[in-house]
Symmetry: C2
Subunit: 142 residues, 2 copies
Amino acid sequence: MTVSEDGAVELAPSECRTLIAGGDFGRLAIRSSDGVDIFPVNFVMHDDALYFRSGPGSKMVDLTSDPRVAFEVDERSDTSAWSVVVHGHAMRLNSDADIEASTVLALRAWDPSDKFNYVRLEIDTITGRRVRLPERKVDRVS
Amino acid sequence: MTVSEDGAVELAPSECRTLIAGGDFGRLAIRSSDGVDIFPVNFVMHDDALYFRSGPGSKMVDLTSDPRVAFEVDERSDTSAWSVVVHGHAMRLNSDADIEASTVLALRAWDPSDKFNYVRLEIDTITGRRVRLPERKVDRVS
């Protein structure tokens, strides 16, 4: 569907947190050695931080050299859509106690490789918007 | 829903192009002055390039200083999900002829500001995966 600019509403940080806490799938954007990269990831929110299992090995290397990340979650119904974007810092969890406390162990990784790396994303800022949707396109390619 | 690592399939570039050509909403990741940023955007695919109307003014500034971007589109059904990631270079369209030929004028921007900037993303690489989905979680955090 195409998202209209009509009726866009900025969401309060508290509402953004509620929305993202109800999600479990988002897109992680990081600086990479040759520009920028983006990965689909499953996640959990716990104690106001986001947790995920890392994907390809290169992702962990890039996070170590530059931990600044952006993370996006969105959801669409027939009549509206919202998108929440988190800016924050990612760090690898090295302690078994931290990993267990995060509840991240219940997650399955999108990517099967490198599945024993667990990452915490600490939220610096969280913003979001909700938009009304126009009529669904009927001529889309599928 | 949580995406399982079981049954993940790498998609051929031709299939990735077909999938992304059928989409109209994705997430654009760019290097920003203070790290990385990610934006939800509507897009069209035309002549093997992606076109979108730019959002906030800061996005255009960042694209001018570093045109390397990543762009992700995904879709989920009850039983499977796919995600396609494009790495490429973004450039502003300055010619009315280029803008009209791109078909981007039919798009509405996610963000109402700065709506007269049109951007072409030329594809350097395109990758994607399809995964089978496990049963939907019933105990999701909300």
